[in-house]
Homo-oligomer: 337 residues x 2
């Protein structure tokens, strides 16, 4: 069983008295800036949580009954499905969800609000958080969990999916259909979610004894427009791919549009597979074969982690990866002889 860090442990580690740690936690001014910084840092490292943050033990008008959910943007259906998972799980636990948009690290009013409002915890989706912001949250005893962080931190609990295994499964599906010349819409090169999916692709090719053609791996973003352009560029090469692996459903829709604009049929002339399994992927023409990610489960898992940390448990692991699965619909077909 993970031990719950105590105020005494933090005090020992910082080489100060318990009273000093208590002063830092209570925002008192009679602590030197250097000591305060050292104690706050250790509070973060020890994932220290006040005892007062246990369920219902806080009298501050129900603020501890609220979870702050901070999303990078409200423009993507991906986000909607995560919100649903968080909302369902919070509802079951008798918690309410306060929703904010992060507006980038620079803004960060949501950190002040979550800390000042004494929230049960903060769930951060596809965003970044500065060291200073983390210290603010830790000082206020507000646990932090990240979903799909842009860069996976090693000292904040985070939730993602098995991106590598998903990339592998998508590629193996295309290889089984006879495709060996596969184009990749690789997503943003700085986002680990995307690059890990591409690593899965490379592994599947290597397992099959094939080399990846650099011309067929196109970096971009997770969106539609750039994916359409990149797909058009690949499909008009002298030796075009017979299948496209898109590292997101949004990019896969761009690939469908590119094929249509070039007068190519999907899957007759070119197969397309997506990634994410958004609900909209079933409504495209043709419906997308994709890698289903359990978005709602990710939201639920985040709420569960917040609750356990708030109750004083240290998380068993800093990184939870939920499984993906291949969902075969109509956008992939055997290679034509």
């Amino acid at each position: 069983m993970p031990e719950r860090p105590t105020l005494a442990e933090v005090a020992d580690a910082a080489g100060v008295s318990r009273a000093t740690v208590s002063k830092v936690l209570n925002g008192r001014h009679d602590v030197s800036p250097e000591t305060r910084a050292r104690v706050e840092q250790l509070l973060v490292e020890h994932s220290y949580v006040r005892r007062g943050s246990a369920p219902d033990s806080d009298g501050r008008n129900g603020s501890r009954r609220m979870v702050q959910l901070v999303v990078d943007t409200l423009e993507s259906p991906y986000t909607l499905e995560l919100i649903r998972g968080v909302s369902d799980a919070a509802d079951e636990a008798g918690l309410e969800v306060v929703l904010s948009q992060s507006g980038g690290v620079a803004d960060g009013r949501w950190v002040q609000r979550a800390a000042g409002g004494g929230r049960r915890g903060l769930i951060l989706v596809m965003s970044q958080i500065s060291e200073e912001q983390r210290t603010t949250l830790a000082g206020a005893g507000v646990p932090l969990v990240m979903i799909d962080p842009l860069i996976v931190p090693d000292d904040v609990p985070s939730i993602g999916v098995t991106n590598w295994a998903g990339g592998l499964a998508a590629t193996e599906h295309l290889l089984e259909l006879g495709h060996t010349r596969i184009g990749v819409l690789a997503g943003h090169p700085d986002v680990s979610t995307a690059t890990t999916r591409v690593h899965g692709f490379r592994a599947a090719l290597a397992n099959a004894g094939l080399d990846a053609d650099p011309q067929l791996i196109r970096p971009g973003d997770f969106g539609f427009d750039l994916a359409r352009e990149n797909t058009k560029a690949m499909l008009t090469l002298d030796r075009p791919p017979t299948a496209v692996f898109a590292t997101s459903d949004g990019q896969a829709l761009g690939a469908l549009a590119a094929a249509r604009e070039l007068g190519l049929g999907v899957p007759h002339d070119v197969s397309v597979i997506g990634f994410d399994g958004l609900s909209l992927s079933q409504f495209s023409s043709p419906p997308l074969t994709t890698i289903q990610t359990p978005l709602a489960d990710m939201g639920r898992t985040a709420v569960g982690m917040i609750r356990r940390i708030a109750e004083g448990d240290r998380p068993d692991t800093m990184r939870v990866e939920l499984s993906t699965r291949l969902l075969v619909r109509e956008s992939t077909a055997p290679l034509r002889a």
Copy 2:
């Protein structure tokens, strides 16, 4: 200028003393059930709002800085775009958004929370609310605004779009392209948003001296599956329509799928026009011609109304309808000779 209803006005209308109204507002028990019911009813009718609910004058730990947003479901991209509008406007106003799913009228815990938590106001999306729930909110001084209510109430401020004018514009677009035999995916017959769009369709036909063919007006819901079935049924009639007007983008995607499954090209063989202008409508193959509704503006307008009512203004009007506009993309084309 609209007058702000006072406690004295409500007392006069109820034929009781101000002290009695005050007791009802404060949840005191020394009021008879009949008197309480009459006063609560009048509080609703007069849209009474406590003075204490003016901005920042409430000390209850910032609850008055929160707006409760209650949505019927978190499954539709339609909802996501409304949430964005509410979130943006709340952010600009320094308010936070507490998000809940309504879970039907029967559940209604959100009403207790909004009332008990002393929220700045409650915005209800595509849902219903009982008389009793409205009384609870009014008694707690929590203003209510509805977005796209299933049935438009005449005594609760509500926000919608010009559904009739949108239905008219969609149909006129098809008529101008030469289509006279137009199928309609009519949405749910009990939802006024949908039926009003169909009335716009009928008006456009009548203006052109045409009769509507009852075989070509198919009730359903706002979803994909039933729309696909209904479109297939229409397109396999002896005299099939040459164009389909879908009263939602979700239904339009169903129509695209039906055409594809029948081997018909859109817009070459059949034109399809949607309604709502969801962001996903630009990513279908082909991109949808649709009636753009200002979803984010509806969310913003709701927050604005909540703020004004909470500050003591009576709304200028109980019903705000925001304009729609025709957005021509690639799913509609001239009738082939």
